[in-house]
Amino acid sequence: MSTKIDRAFDNIGRLDTLAESNTPLHQLDPRAKLLTTAVFVVSVVSFNKYEIARLLPFFLYPAVLIGLGNLPLGFLLRKLLIVSPFVIFLGIFNPWLDREIILQIGTFGISGGWLSFLSLLLRFVLTVGAALLLIASTGFATICMALEKLSTPRIFAVQLLLLYRYIFVLIAETLRLLRAHSLRSFDRKNGISYRVFLQLLGNLLLRTIDRAQRIHTAMLCRAFTGEIKIIRQFRFGVKEVIFLTGFSTLFIILRLTDAIDLLGYLVLQISR
């Protein structure tokens, strides 16, 4: 159980720390990064299911972000690995279900299933990687404020901000509950029984509701009238325009044209 809690802290804490570094990527307006990520994800997902070659150039984007933001590749890959099982589970049947030979390399035939499975893995790494890079280079609070600027309902942006702030507090609260429980119980092998579990959870819930009341009182003391004001200035300057339009144009070119084929063709011709 403690490993699970460690993992949660590892997840959130480490990404948070990364988001506070001060690189050219971190300095960009969050809206530019958010919109670029959206264009990226839609371009990647819109390829047909057997596509492999034309997905490869899209690794350019994560590579550049990792470089520009000085982000730790190993950590990000580990996070990808942790969540991969569901996608692998849903894709692993493709090779069995789709045995049509599509690609012939000499005498060696590759079935459509293997191609689509490989394509699915590439999509997974690209899309989920893009989300991780966004958070590691921007930080959650900043993303929420950018969302609000991009006309997400303010109440939802505030909800995200509050949730994020209190995750840490409530995880610490939960840790105290669990520690108190383990100090008073000897039978660690069998875990927590259903009865005790309900009491722990119920108590946590009561404390949470009380906390919400205290927070509300504190907000009222600070002139809260039901309307939350977010004050944060962002500047969408030249750098942002270059980042957004540059990458978006690149993705659209890579998606719609055969620039890649042309490039490879030229290289093959020259090398002949």
Partner: protein
């Protein structure tokens, strides 16, 4: 149970995004209009509670596995449908970003599957009808169990439907359904038991909390029917536009390799799968151009695809090189992460 970007086609993902975004906007207005500003911190903190609560596990006797709270239903009971929906959507957003659960495009599907079903169907139409205004422990248990099971069954079916419509996974509809539904029956039973248990605990310890939640809940004024009809309209509208767009710009789906190997399109085995496959072909988002070097005949075409692979690899390697160079330069001046500043 989380849907993933990699399994989605843009049409399905976009449609679900539109439906979920519309519901978020609608619920935000509802919550703002409810004039109960205590709800704002309560929503945030209860959503964080769901996170924390998932760290407490109990042992399920005789199975060797463990269970924990999912959270959708309990949020609906404590907050009412619109506020609970926003809370669930926020939890899923945090999961998508920090825990890499699914990805950003799939977020629309996940909010739909795990938010709309419990908040707008399972809670008002099942839980409330069974439990009523004067809960007893028996009614609480029956109501929570049935509502949780129904909510999760619908959510799981949503995952199956979205995956099959997207057509990236080859898993046939029928076997996927047979796999998903029983697993989520078990999860639903655990969820129902835990929800009933916690609500009973609160009912015994501090009944006024639930009474207050029941009294000021704007659910009476919330037209569930209208919400569902509106949602269906948004879904059909965006789905229609996206698939119309896709069919106006038919995708050159056949990979150039199809022609090279002389193989036909995949043979669909059963009727449903076949029709789903047609939908999938129709829903591929953007037109696909194939660069063909017709001058050289067959070998030329093979050369084209090989060149595609070469070109792709080349750009990828270029990207990695750029990344490495940037990173080398970055180490010198910039990066100085601060210790974790929170709490």
């Amino acid at each position: 149970m989380h849907m993933a970007d990699a399994l989605l086609s843009p049409a399905v993902g976009g449609t679900m995004w539109a439906a979920s975004a519309a519901t978020v906007a609608y619920c935000s207005t509802k919550v703002r209009q409810s004039l109960d500003d205590r709800k704002i911190p309560l929503m945030g903190v209860l959503a964080a509670f769901v996170f924390a609560a998932q760290m407490i596990n109990f042992t399920i006797p005789a199975t060797g596995s463990s269970g924990h709270l999912g959270g959708g239903l309990i949020l609906a009971i404590l907050l009412g449908a619109p506020a609970a929906f926003l809370a669930i959507a926020s939890v899923l957003t945090v999961q998508a970003l920090f825990f890499a659960d699914g990805g950003l495009l799939a977020l629309g599907c996940n909010i739909f599957n795990l938010g709309i079903f419990p908040c707008f169907i399972a809670y008002p139409l099942i839980y409330k009808k069974i439990v009523g205004d004067h809960p007893t422990s028996g009614r609480l248990l029956t109501g929570s169990l049935i509502a949780a099971i129904a909510g999760l069954q619908m959510g799981a079916f949503g995952v199956v439907l979205e995956t099959t419509l997207s057509g990236i996974s080859e898993l046939p509809f029928s076997s996927f359904v047979i796999m998903m539904q029983p697993i989520h029956l078990a999860i639903g039973i655990v969820e129902g038991l835990v929800t009933a248990g916690v609500i009973s605990f609160i009912w015994q310890a501090r009944p006024e909390i639930l009474e207050k939640a029941a009294a000021d809940r704007p659910i009476g004024a919330l037209p569930i029917g209208k919400v569902l009809i509106g949602l269906a309209m948004v879904t059909i509208f965006t789905g229609g536009i996206l698939s119309w767009y896709a069919s106006e710009h038919p995708d050159g789906l056949e990979w150039s390799m199809f022609k090279v190997s002389g193989q036909e399109e995949l043979e669909a085995t059963n009727g449903l799968h076949h029709s789903l496959e047609i939908i999938q072909e129709k829903t591929a988002f953007l037109p696909d151009y194939n660069f063909k070097d017709t001058a050289e005949g067959d070998s030329g075409r093979l050369g084209t695809s090989a060149s595609g692979l070469v070109g792709g690899l080349l750009v990828m390697l270029m990207g990695i090189a750029i990344g490495l160079v940037l990173k080398k330069r970055g180490v010198v001046g910039h990066d100085h992460p601060h210790p974790h500043p929170h709490v």
